[in-house]
């Protein structure tokens, strides 16, 4: 039984409840001619019944989906023979459970199927089936119960509209709180996992170490069992790629914003501005492809002509293409702030005999500087958090180098690499990705907060 069928059934129950509630309201008022004795319009009684039928049932269903897997899994785990779990790391237990689930759903299993695993898989499948049926029953019971409750409560004096409206308002408040929940979810998930990481690896080593090789062996007896988690090479790599990107994006973006805002004829502006902004709408994976297959070979060939040894995945290629991607951010944000500078300031400058470029450089840019700096900070945060271009074009080796022709790796690249292989949730290798994620989140958060407050202050100044 699919969950989607249940949702459709629930929607039908809601429609029925609406219809019944409305009819009941009209009947309780004494027919269509008497509906002026009702407190609210009949449709509100219908909505009231529909909400009572649908909302509790939907909530129950959501909770059920959220926790069914956990409960069933813990039941199955409890029934597993003790010798299977004794002395195993929680990662191994996770693997066993994964096998059981795969077996139960008919997928491919990684290990050989022992009778215990088979039994557990059967139990899992049975429990899941029971849970599924129980959910159908429970949800439909709640829906019908809610409908009956609303039906019994329907009487001419009931303030149906007010109740419906307060429920709507409550729903809207919940929706707007999702933004907070998201932030909370991000912070909690990365902080929690990072905390576990920092219990294994000291923060000092992580933030100050210069050697990054996160390949931890799964078993202690393997060669090179201990990885190194010094993240400095990642930070310098990220900084270098971002710096190259900003060196491309800031001059081009700023100058084109100035040109388009101050010099360009109207028709040039009306074409050039949207065309440049097309760059902002192109998915980053496309830039990554462009960087890896077009720009990187080009740079390598040019380097070979000049007698330089360029890595096939150089920081320069990734940085250049990232710069291209960021041009429209810088240019449209700068364009906004330049246009926000009051015309009177320009006129004053012209009246004193300044040329246009002098006006721009001595009056407009200083006046718009806070906004421009804010825009650039936002662009930097974007460059630091950009993933696909560097994943595809910057490489994986954590070199501590200042040579842009070398291959470097960045924080985002490492997060992707650490989490896309076969993973165990408990190894330092996986958890390191969350520690990197936390660092990334905090750095970009600080940059964003500063940038947004600068931009906002600046806007207020001229409004």
């Amino acid at each position: 039984m699919y969950a989607w069928t249940l949702i459709v059934v629930l929607l039908m129950v809601m429609a029925l409840a609406y219809h019944l509630g409305r009819k009941r309201a009209i009947a309780s008022a004494g027919g269509v001619t008497q509906i002026n004795t009702l407190h609210s319009l009949p449709s509100y009684y219908g909505l009231y019944a529909a909400i009572w039928a649908g909302l509790p049932a939907l909530l129950l269903m959501g909770l059920w989906f959220g926790f069914q897997d956990q409960i069933v899994t813990s039941l199955v785990t409890a029934n597993l023979p003790a010798e299977m779990l004794d002395g195993q790391s929680s990662g191994r237990v996770g693997l066993i459970l994964n096998d059981i689930k795969n077996l139960a759903t008919g997928n491919i299993v990684s290990a050989t199927v022992t009778p215990e695993v088979q039994a557990a898989a059967d139990q899992y499948a049975r429990l899941a089936r029971i849970a599924n049926w129980a959910m159908w029953l429970a949800v439909l019971a709640v829906a019908v119960g809610g409908m009956a409750y609303a039906w019994l409560r329907t009487e001419p004096q009931m303030r149906a509209r007010n109740r419906v409206e307060s429920i709507f308002k409550f729903i809207m408040i919940t929706f707007s709180s999702i933004a907070i929940l998201t932030t909370l979810g991000i912070v909690l998930s990365v902080v929690f996992e990072s905390f576990r990481f920092f219990q294994m690896i000291s923060p000092l080593e992580f933030f100050l170490g210069t050697n990054w090789s996160p390949q931890i062996a799964l078993r202690a007896d393997q060669v090179g069992a201990s990885g190194a988690f010094g993240a400095i090479p990642l930070f310098t790599g990220t900084l270098m790629v971002s710096l190259i990107a900003m060196l491309v994006a800031v001059p081009i973006g700023l100058m084109s914003a100035i040109y388009l805002a101050e010099y360009a004829p109207r028709n040039v502006r009306s074409i050039a501005k949207p065309v440049i902004e097309v760059l902002a709408g192109i998915p980053t994976v496309v830039y990554g492809f462009f960087a890896a297959l077009t720009v990187a070979p080009l740079i390598r060939d040019l380097g070979a002509l000049a007698g330089l040894n360029v890595a096939s995945e150089s920081a320069l290629a990734a940085g250049l293409v990232m710069g291209i991607m960021i041009i429209p951010f810088v240019s449209s944000l700068s364009d906004d702030v330049i246009n926000a500078v009051p015309q009177s300031m320009r006129d004053g400058s012209y009246a004193l005999g300044a040329t246009q470029s002098e006006t721009i450089r001595r009056v407009i840019i200083p006046a718009a500087l806070p906004g421009i700096v804010g825009g650039i900070l936002l662009a930097v945060s974007r460059a630091i958090g950009e993933t696909m271009i560097v994943v595809m074009a910057a490489g994986l080796s954590a070199n501590l180098t200042a040579n842009p022709l070398d291959s470097v790796t960045t924080v985002t690249v490492q997060i992707v690499t650490l989490l896309t292989g076969d993973q165990e949730f408990d190894s330092a290798k996986t958890l390191a990705a969350f520690a990197l994620g936390l660092t990334l989140f905090l750095v970009t958060l600080v940059l964003n907060v500063i940038a947004l407050s600068i931009v906002r202050k600046y806007r207020e100044q001229y409004e």
Partner: protein, 437 residues
Amino acid sequence: MSKPTLNAPQAPVRRTIDIVNASLKRRHAQERRFRRIGAIAVALGLAFVVLLFADIVGKGYTAFQQTYLQLPIELSAEKIDPAGTREPETLSTADYMAPIRAALRQQFPEVTERRELRQLYSMVSVGAPQFLREQVMENPDLIGTTQEVWVLADDDIDMLVKGQIDRHAPEESRRVNDRMLGWVEHLEEQGRIEKRFNTIFFTQGTSREPELAGIAGALMGSFYTLLLTLILSFPIGVGAALYLEEFAPKNRWTDLIEVNVNNLAAVPSIVFGLLGLAVFIGFFGAPRSTPLVAALVMTLMTLPTIIIASRVALKSVPPSIREAALGVGASPLQTQFHHVLPLALPGMLTGAIIGMARALGETAPLLMIGMIAFIVDIPSGFTDAATVLPVQIFLWADSPERGFVERTSAAIIVLLAFLFLMNLVAVLLRRRFERRW
């Protein structure tokens, strides 16, 4: 000391105008230079756009065609259906590679050595028998006849015919050796090689073989993901915007929400991937690599965009509408839902479409939640393992085969076409419904 006489040559008085005049030439040159730099910057920006598109289209347009070889294939009844029952099961399990190979041998009877034969066989795609099987199953009357059939060529032959592999390059630097080149040229002379529209690209899932790889699976994955994202994020975004803009009291909680929304819009997308991995997959046990999880992550990502756009749309509805509605006795909620919301809806939809366009192109967070898996089947629901178009592009871009370069570019062209379409709809919507009050 003599008094200065009146007609003695005086030192010229340095008037401001002279200073200005003296500097004018330099300043005007500066002005021209500054202006030129600006024009160059704009030109560079435009050049990058043109370069990017030219590069992608130049690499990708050939992928919309696929090379086929015409071979006279003898579908002997003894081989395919010895019992003569024409049962679908017999027909579908028969060996269709053998007749194709026999046809190849018949074309080039001089090839007998084993190594050469293997090369000869490699000219045809390993997927070719599958298409032959479909033809035979559709029309069992073909059995027992010899048919001129167009069979799918291998990707190396495809590249050679399309000119991606240089025929005049020295043999050792070419993936196709001289012997195979000779065969291809022989077939070309006979008119047995043709490029046709590449339907496989649009109807099949991915594959390890470039000539068999298509984007249908990824497109369906993207479709399911976007559909669910829209279903979830649009009502939530509009509800949140409505509350924040129209009902929320000015207090610390709503301030916090507002700061949060603005910051979330600028959080790197990969962090949302970490959230999805830790919360949806790790905590709630949602199935990995499914459109369901992808849509949940995308919803959280696009919400700020939709909320911000919806608030702008609500702001642009003049207060007189609200006052009039309230004046005739509508409740605040009725005012919003019956009068303000319909007027703000086009703007909100525009925001939603732009948010969806961004979600369509997003890759990084989806790598985190396991959408990177190699999935051949075309997904048929929200909880089937799937991949999405940008992730497919990423995976293909990593493949070493020459044939994947053009297919990756072609997939990018399709992706960009969809993005273009969505943005076009957004712009048209804005034009059509934009009101000046």
